[in-house]
């Protein structure tokens, strides 16, 4: 351990009394809460910044890892990669100086920026969905007006369509019944078109005097 690392640890302990944790002589972990108002995020996780300082620190960029206290849909791998790049770029600019505080601050600021962007993106998506829904709802009020005449004409077409549907349905049921029939006689019975009792009488197909014979 070099005096530079020792000095860095003392600085971080004084800046982050609650957030700082010393993993070992050269590895430090800083957990920073994210403010919900600053980030425009309802339930933001805490930012966990872990860095390992080499013997050459501060003339060598530390090994930095960034995670969050719990998963969040707005902070995926892509966003974490973006944070790493921002931190790495800052680290290059800070070579030769104590830099961990600066890197932590940058990481936190960038996290807030990411969350704000995600929030705006979600708001826009919601607004777009509402706009499309309203547009779809309004569509029903434009087009051919319903009048007695236009409806009557439409109904003719609809009835034809419906009768076709019913016919197909009946044919489907008939095929099903025929394939389930066990004998040719059963199939004949299914195919036979039969009149209702009412139709038999109304079409004078029943002789009343025949009935007397049955009694």
């Amino acid at each position: 351990m070099t005096s530079a690392i020792e000095e860095e640890r003392e600085i971080l302990e004084s800046i982050y009394p609650e957030e700082f944790k010393c993993i070992n002589d050269s590895t430090f972990e800083i957990t920073q809460p994210i403010d919900r108002e600053e980030s425009n995020c309802d339930n933001p996780p805490s930012l966990i910044f872990t860095c390992q300082l080499s013997e050459a620190y501060p003339d060598e960029v530390p090994d930095v890892k960034i995670t969050f206290s719990e998963p969040h849909p707005w902070l995926g791998e892509e966003e974490i990669e973006r944070l790493k790049q921002v931190v790495a770029q800052n680290a290059e600019e800070c070579l030769g100086m104590a830099m961990i505080f600066s890197l932590c601050s940058v990481a936190k600021e960038e996290t807030n920026a990411i969350l704000i962007e995600q929030s705006q993106r979600e708001t826009q998506a919601i607004e777009e969905r509402h706009r499309k829904e309203a547009e779809q709802e309004n569509k029903k009020f434009h087009g051919t007006p319903v009048t007695v005449e236009s409806f009557t004409e439409w109904k003719k077409g609809f009835d034809a369509w419906r009768n076709e549907q019913l016919k197909l349905e009946q044919e489907s049921k008939l095929k099903e019944a025929l394939s389930a029939a066990s004998s040719s006689n059963a199939r004949k019975a299914i195919l036979e078109k039969r009149m209702t009792g009412r139709e038999l009488f109304e079409n004078n197909l029943v002789k009343l005097d025949d009935v007397e014979g049955e009694a």
Binding site: W154, F158, R194, M195, L200, V206, D209, A215
Partner: protein, 363 residues
Amino acid sequence: MGVLEKIQEIEAEMRRTQKNKATEYHLGLLKGKLAKLRAQLLEPTSKSGPKGEGFDVLKSGDARVAFIGFPSVGKSTLLSAITKTKSATASYEFTTLTAIPGVLEYDGAEIQMLDLPGIIEGASQGRGGRQAVSAARTADLILMVLDATKAADQREKIEYELEQVGIRLNRQPPNVTLTIKKNGGIKFNHTVPLTHMDYKMAYNILHEYRIHNADILIREDITVDDFIDLVMGNRRYINCLYCYSKIDAVSLEEVDRLARLPKSVVISCNMKLNLDFLKERIWEELNLYRIYTKRKGEMPDFSEALIVRKGSTIEQVCNRIHRTLAEQLKYALVWGTSAKHSPQVVGLNHRVEEGDVVTIVTK
């Protein structure tokens, strides 16, 4: 903790439980608990007013149709348009507050129409309209009245409320036999491959309901929810017709789209459009048959029909004519599609069909 709080707690736990093989038994159990708690919401807490008033409208006629919908979709106007009833909505400034009966006469049948107050979201959980939702359970057909000018999700919301009180729309009871026994444990058999249910799931659900001995025979690939419905035993499987009102206020293209949805009818009371088609569809969905009686040597009287349900037998026909006629039956003569030849001599068990003509011969 009240019933509602328990329901909310279980629903939250179900959301937290990820769906995978290891947790599906737990989810099945939670569903069983939920069904029990929801049933408790339906149990009456106090005796209501005199019979026939309020929601205890006496069932009359050959069948009952319940009008269900959100407030101000035009149910009362529709009731007046297709029956002789002047809805009592005039007595109230805004909307219907109690169940109003009317009678639709259709080709010899008398169909009771029940105009129920508009459903408010959350009706099944005790908010406004709970009695309307429960009263719908007594119907032979539900006519869901939907405003064609309103948002599309009104239908899903009403279906949700009806589902909560144990009404299953446009579905058949599951093809399952559940016989509760005094001993012997749980016996689980099935005649088809099952993708949702197995012995362990059935065992867990039955134990939740304190059933430890039962024979189960499953003949179709039912879901866990179907099985819970079966165990609960108080489900009502009711046909539903979706009636889109106020179509004079939307485009003809929208009318066409709505009309082609399954079990859908489009109407306008303002312009008196399509009301005859609605009556026709109501009749079809009720699954009723008209049976005509005939005396020996005489023509049947087609101006008067006996109305029976699909699947009825000569016994039910006799019961409709007179309470004790079935006992006196010697035989019956049947003309029509149910007869192998006309006339056919039949007994009490003969199943009748639409338009049959029947002569009852007594001992």
